[in-house]
Amino acid sequence: MAAEEGKVDPMKQFTIEPIFGHDWQLADGFNIAFTNSALWMALAAVLVWAFVAGGMKRQLVPGRWQMAVESMTGFIDDMLEANIGKAGRKYVPYIFTLFMFILFGNLLGLLPVGLLGLHPFTFTSHFTVTGVLAILSFSIVLVVGFAKHGLHFFSLFVPKDTPFLMAVFIAPIEFVSFMVRPFSLGLRLFVAMMAGHVLLKVLASFVIAGGGAGPALGAAVGIPSFVLMVAISALEILVAGIQAYVFALLTSLYINDAENLH
């Protein structure tokens, strides 16, 4: 998918370029160069840290910033309490970090820093990233489940009060649906973020191509495409929040399975 001269390649935005440390090796063959992807992850992490640090004044009567941070932690706390119950409180640090990291990553990818000549990058549009996050969440489910219930955790695959004959068929289905969870969790976020960015790039290429085809055709194609881009950008901001929420919500639902078997 090499970009031809004068054409916009909608996939180019997802390329990863090493920034420094080209020859850093973790082991033989494992290159860990600091890439633009890592840079945007670090930016998102620093922004999350700055956001939360701004709310650390710990005043009895909170200011605006503290109120914003407390409403975010309260939002995650409420979600976990609703899905898991009182035991959900101990997962707030993980779910909060996960939610904020994905949310800031999604939103940072939407910033029009391309106007400044920089390469905007959405690390959540890479399944290497979303996959690792999904596996992290899934590992927590497995660790909590087996630590809490031992081998009894396998009864998760047999819904309560299932007759034996049905359980024989239901258990394999439940097992497959359980094992698919990390993939669906990681792919959902990756696909949602990539699709939105590709769509925006495609529409932008319409505007550019239309502009090159003369004033009349340019206006006929370019203006509707541009209006659509504005609308889809608004939608993408919504999707950025929703996908981060869905990731955190599903993680908390899966942890609920492990915490409260059935």
Partner: protein, 164 residues
């Protein structure tokens, strides 16, 4: 799709930096800051509920105080009314006694006066008898020209008067 094309060359870097950055974020923000923020929220909630409870307790105390005051007030009022009733009863008794004394005194004087009147009447009657006897003797002497003994005249008068 660069995600797949570059997979083999960037896979290790992606996973490594994600784990490092996300891990640091989890340690610093998730474990370091979030519990403090939630602690602040809990502290505030506790303070608010504590203040509300204190206000409720103060209000209850005030209500109890008022109730006790009202009870005391009512008791005082009843006591005062009792005192007034007692004083009234005592005054009524005293005036009754005085009236009774005055009545007895009056009765005594009345009886005395009646006795005086009776005595006067009796003496007047006696005088009338003697005058009548004298008059009867005079009338007899004038009309019949006979001298009647004073005692006989008196007896005759007495007899007439007794018959009415």
């Amino acid at each position: 799709m660069p995600q797949i094309e570059q997979l083999s060359e960037v896979f290790a870097s992606q996973v490594f930096w994600l784990l490092v950055i996300f891990g640091l974020l989890f340690l610093v923000v998730g474990l370091g800051m979030v519990p403090k923020i939630m602690g602040t929220v809990d502290l505030r909630d506790q303070q608010i509920s504590g203040d509300l409870a204190a206000a409720q307790a103060a209000r209850d105390a005030a209500d109890r105080e008022e109730e006790a005051w009202r009870k005391r007030e009512n008791e005082n009022r009843t006591a005062a009314q009792g005192l007034i009733a007692e004083a009234k009863a005592a005054a009524a008794k005293a005036s009754e006694a005085k009236l009774a004394a005055a009545q007895t005194r009056l009765d005594a004087r009345l009886a005395e006066a009646e006795a005086g009147i009776d005595a006067a009447r009796a003496s007047a009657m006696a005088e009338i008898e003697s005058v009548a006897a004298d008059a009867a003797r005079d009338i007899v002497a004038r009309i019949a020209g006979a001298e009647v003994e004073a005692a006989a005249a008196e007896a005759a008068v007495k007899e007439v008067m007794a018959h009415g």
